[in-house]
């Protein structure tokens, strides 16, 4: 429910104001963002960013601009808000400066892309489209490049799922071909990494030195064939998802553009192509026109016809549902007005019961009528809704294990012990070697830990207690600590193969060890739990716990069941944890007392 990672889009403030046709002071813009569900995260400039990264003395500062940059947090499902063009359009419609989102005109196809069977094993999908008579400025060309980066990182999951190639159509010869070939057979001059023609294998070696691109190499590197896009002359346009060829290189002055999107996930490929076309067809001489393309097989069968799919998807949303979910009594036409502000052109159906909603090709976030209801709520203003505590009547209650734990936590504190809170994860050697205990195949193992600290789930609370003691040696002696928490144990009976077990662990540390002092606390806890003396005893003979000093250790037996152990910690364990004074410990499974 939290720590959601949100994409951050950087836009120049003045360009955004220009696109919105209005200058906002920062506070007013923040309020606008808040209402719309995006967030002004940071205000900075190129200069500030460089200073932050490279320090005040950096050479790069000389040419850096101090134009104000807004960094804006975007909800992760709004792929239509990842560039200035998209944010400005959505806000203009929200502010009712524009009546509705653009309607796209798809011109008849002239050019095809052939997808060959060979790509199936490596990167099976390609979709594509053409933009003609585009006029970029420096800023809009930058935005065009940045949006591709955003898609690569985001929905493309670092290019594994989707990657984009854009090419100067005037330098290449249609039709185009998407095929997979052994790397040694692919020869071209890449956009980066080499000025000369290289083959696929050489390119991989060269790009190992490229800090930005080397992290994508793994996607195809070990495949026997690499995906590649050729033109009719047999020249390479791109080697997805790594790099384009120099041959089709674009610049800000490029007029006609081929956009190709290759993917392992077709749905996502369409989302990316639609948004690329929607955002930048606005710069065509006739805005929002796109030239269609077909994707065909080698034998000429159509795979995808008339790409991109820029038609609005028609769906319905029940007015009763929207009104009930939002507790809104608005007339239908006002609900329609609200949806129009959210770029969802709508109309009331003939029977007046529902809305006909036209979902733009850019709004891949709309899956269900609940998404439409949310947009009604945003346009109406969350904080204007009728806020009422639900009248659901239920009776409260605590989970029995937690209730018992809380009662014992208090008893331990009354007995003079201080509660600690340690991690459920630890290093394997802490849980076993440091405690002189043998591997018992009881711990769960993490496959991808980032640090040595978190390799396994603890099977004992002693690790946390002893580490806490080691960090608090300066305290006046005796030190008395306890923790009531869960350990994790493998268990073949459980659906996931592991269960938690609630434990109580305590520790008494002084210049000299005292078994009796901790035994007294154990006696007290048993007394408080209502365990009579007949039901409970300590068994020294059956205890072989190597963490404890031989002859000074015992199993805790309740109703003839071993529920834990008590004893003086073995001197080697004390040394392993870097403690220095004598320690007596006790650890119990308390679940049987629930």
């Amino acid at each position: 429910f939290f720590f959601l990672i949100m994409p951050v889009v950087s836009v120049k403030r003045d360009l955004l104001h220009e696109a919105l046709g209005e200058v906002y002071d920062q506070a007013a813009f923040e309020d606008l963002c808040f209402d719309f569900g995006i967030e002004l995260d940071d205000v900075t400039s190129e200069k500030e960013e460089i200073e932050k990264e490279l320090g005040e003395g950096s050479e790069k500062l000389k040419d850096a601009s101090d134009e104000v940059i807004y960094k804006i947090d975007i909800p992760a499902n709004r792929y239509d808000l990842l560039c200035l063009e998209g944010i400005a359009k959505a806000m203009r419609v929200f502010l009712q400066k524009d009546p509705k989102p653009p309607v796209f005109k798809v011109l008849p196809k002239k050019i095809s892309m052939t997808v060959e069977k060979s790509v199936e094993s490596i990167r099976p999908h390609v979709v594509c489209a053409i933009l003609r008579n585009v006029t970029f400025t420096q800023a809009s060309y930058r935005s065009f490049i940045d949006l591709q980066d955003k898609f690569h990182q985001n929905i493309g999951r670092n290019r594994t799922l989707v990657s984009i190639g854009t090419h100067d159509l005037d330098n290449i010869e249609p039709p185009f071909f998407y095929r997979a070939l052994p790397p040694s057979e692919i020869k071209f001059v890449p956009l980066r990494g080499s000025d000369n023609e290289v083959d696929g294998n050489q390119l991989m070696v060269e790009l190992e030195k490229d800090l930005q691109l080397k992290r994508y190499l793994h996607i195809i590197k070990d495949s026997p064939v690499y995906p590649v896009i050729y033109d009719n002359r047999g020249k390479v346009l791109s080697l997805p998802p790594i790099i384009n060829g120099k041959y089709s290189k674009m610049s800000k002055d490029t007029k006609n553009i081929l956009i190709e999107v290759t993917a392992t996930d077709l749905t996502k490929a369409h989302i990316v192509l639609n948004n690329m076309c929607a955002m930048f067809s606005g710069y065509c001489s006739e805005p929002y026109t796109i030239e269609a393309m077909d994707v065909i097989t080698e034998s000429g069968e159509i795979v995808h016809e008339n790409l991109p799919r820029m038609e609005y998807r028609s769906t319905t949303a029940s007015l009763k549902y929207i009104r009930s979910l939002l507790d809104l009594k608005l007339p239908s036409n006002e609900v329609v007005d609200l949806l129009n502000k959210m770029m969802l052109p709508s109309s009331v159906s003939a029977d007046g019961e529902s809305l006909e909603v036209l979902v733009p090709p850019t709004r891949s976030d709309i899956l269900h009528e609940c998404d439409i209801a949310e947009d009604v709520a945003i346009a109406y203003g969350y904080n204007n809704l009728n806020i009422v505590t639900p009248n659901t009547v239920t009776s409260g209650g605590q989970h029995p294990v937690n209730m018992l734990s809380d009662l014992l936590r208090s008893e331990m504190a009354f007995a003079g012990y201080t509660e600690i809170l340690s991690f459920a994860l630890c290093a394997r050697n802490e849980n076993y070697d440091f405690l002189r205990r043998k591997e018992d195949n009881l711990c769960v193992t993490i496959s991808n830990p980032k640090t040595f600290e978190f390799q396994i789930g603890r099977t004992t609370l002693l690790v946390g207690l002893l580490k806490t003691l080691a960090c608090n040696k300066q305290l006046p002696l005796p030190i008395k600590l306890y923790e009531i928490a869960d350990v994790i144990l493998k268990d073949s009976e459980s659906d996931v193969g592991a269960v938690n077990q609630r434990r109580l662990a305590m520790l008494f540390s002084d210049v000299q060890a005292s078994f009796e002092k901790l035994q007294g606390v154990l006696d007290l806890i048993m007394l408080k739990l209502g365990v009579s003396d007949e039901r409970y005893y300590l068994d020294g003979n059956s205890c072989n716990d190597e963490a404890l000093f031989p002859g000074m250790r015992a199993n805790v037996m309740v109703d003839e069941k071993n529920i834990g152990c008590i004893g003086i910690l073995h001197p080697e364990v004390i040394t392993n944890f870097n403690i220095g004074h004598a320690v007596t410990v006790c650890e119990l499974n308390i679940e049987r007392f629930v």
């Binding site: 939290f2 719309f36 969350y382 009728n386 639900p390 996931v496």
Partner: protein, 504 residues
């Protein structure tokens, strides 16, 4: 006669009675140090006796502090051996000598300083040609050492000179003055330290005088030997109480190991969602996969992801059961909420529920001052027919107002398994700004429908971390000072009780 009197005074012994006598005669002691000089008493001892008389309220003390002139180590050396210039002058002798020989006998430091002062005073002469140093004055006095003996009488310019030469420094010295107290007497009575059982039994308490309590500000009593609850868990108790007051039932969250199915798929979180990345989630190699997943439900979840249903177009990708079986350490307690809602849906008749939990969740994060690999998530949810977004805001508002946060507002947000979704902001007076304090939403129909919850049942839910409000409340800036083995136990023992509210 005067001399005789002084002589008598000087032989007076340092006793409480003598001090009291002196005060009786002179009405006060204006400066304890002057008195010590006069009486030849030890100031420390005088102080000790006076404090005991003060505690008996026989006399009243007042502390003062002065800046006084004092010799530095260098200054004391001059007093003992003579000033560097005098030493050099003596070292040159009547015959004269070379600089190197001087350095050999007096040391380089002394010669460096002494030589230049000798030259300045025109006491010696240095022949550059022969390298010979000879005296150029007779009957030289070591005025430096003489003047240092008489520090108090130095004029300011001399004082500054010696300060510059690091022979004299100003130090703080305390003295005290004394006047009669409310229980002033010439005799010191003996006081009983405290009331005892014997005194009560014999009735002797009626005749005895008791030592007054020392109630000076800052004087502490003896600390008790009791134990202490952990700061974060005190806050957990407070949060739990709020839920219980509101009629919420605690969910069983004691299962840290979870399958991807319950943690993600059941929540309609697509398998390619970035949150499922190994960068953010601890996956398990042992036990690597979950064996039991409810088969029918699994089929319905798969269908919803791939093709949608109940008015949804779904995520439209190939859903993998293998991916769903991958075990992990749960990334949120919402996995448990999903299990509870599924169980609820299997009951014959739906009954409305309010559930809560506060327990550990895990993220494969690099540790920093605000992030740990494990932390506690607070979650609350209500399941009932026809709940509204306003109901969600209402229940959240009630929850936070019990916590003492009354000024809250809601921002539209995105969350993969709720729609509508909201971030919760609270105005923090101390920070002077709106802080994000939680996340919330209405569970998506795509999550509830496959569970077979009846049509029209909606589930509203919110979540927050336990650590963040606790850090704000107890003013921690580093989470590692609050959670884990590096926590300062002394700090745990000194933290205040956990009242409602983010203040303390």
């Amino acid at each position: 006669l005067y001399l005789l009197q002084q002589c008598q005074e000087n032989t007076m012994e340092l006793t409480p009675e003598n001090i009291l006598g002196y005060i009786n005669e002179n009405n006060e002691v204006s400066n304890s140090r002057d008195l010590c000089t006069k009486m030849n008493w030890d100031h420390e001892k005088l102080f000790g006796i006076c404090m005991s008389l003060v505690s008996k309220e026989m006399i009243v003390d007042k502390m003062h502090s002065d800046q006084i002139r004092s010799l530095t180590a260098e200054g004391r050396k001059v007093l003992e051996n003579g000033s560097p210039e005098f030493l050099v002058y003596q070292g040159v002798g009547t015959e004269g000598t070379s600089k190197a020989d001087l350095e050999k006998s007096l040391g380089k430091g002394v010669v460096n300083i002494g030589f230049s002062y000798c030259m300045k005073n025109k006491w010696i002469r240095f022949d550059k040609g022969t390298g010979l140093v000879t005296r150029s004055a007779d009957n030289v006095h070591d005025t430096v050492s003489e003047e240092l003996q008489n520090l108090e009488n130095l004029d300011n310019s001399k004082l500054n000179l010696y300060k510059k030469r690091k022979m004299v420094e100003m130090v703080k010295q305390t003295h005290f003055s004394l006047t009669k107290g409310p229980k002033f007497a010439l005799e010191v009575k003996t006081y009983e330290a405290t009331l005892t059982a014997d005194m009560i039994a014999s009735g002797s308490w009626k005749e005895l005088d008791f030592k007054p309590l020392n109630l000076s500000k800052g004087v502490k009593g003896l600390p008790p030997n009791g134990g202490h609850l952990h700061t974060l868990l005190k806050c957990r108790t407070m949060m739990k109480e709020i839920f219980l007051e509101m009629g919420f039932q605690e969910m069983p969250t004691n299962n840290y190991v979870e399958s991807s199915f319950w943690n993600f798929d059941a929540l309609f979180q697509p398998q390619q969602h970035p949150a499922r990345d190994a960068h953010d989630t601890f996956f398990l190699s042992d036990p690597a996969t979950a064996k039991d997943l409810p088969a029918d439900y699994l089929k319905r979840v798969k269908e919803m992801h791939e093709n949608g249903g109940s008015g949804s177009i779904g995520w439209r990708y190939n859903w993998s059961e293998d991916e769903a079986r991958k075990n992990l350490l749960r990334t949120h307690t919402t996995a448990v909420s999903a299990r509870m809602l599924y169980q609820l849906a299997q009951e014959k008749e739906f009954t409305p529920k309010k559930y809560f939990s506060i327990d550990k969740v895990f993220r494969n994060e690099t540790l920093d001052p605000t992030h740990l690999a494990e932390f506690n998530q607070i979650e609350g949810l209500v399941a009932d027919y026809n709940l509204t977004l306003g109901n969600l805001m209402g229940v959240i508002r009630e929850f936070f107002s019990k916590l003492g946060l009354t000024n809250i507002k809601f921002k539209p947000a995105y969350n993969p398994y709720t729609e509508p979704s909201m971030e919760i902001f609270s105005y923090h007076e101390g920070h002077g700004k709106w802080l994000e304090i939680g996340n919330s939403g209405v569970f998506r129909p795509e999550m509830l429908t496959p569970m077979n919850l009846p049509e029209g049942v909606r589930v509203i839910a919110w979540g927050l971390s336990l650590e963040r409000p606790t850090m704000i409340k107890y003013k921690y800036s580093n989470i590692r000072d609050l959670v884990g083995h590096k926590v300062d136990i002394d700090g745990v023992q000194k933290n205040t009780i956990c009242r409602r509210g983010l203040g303390n």
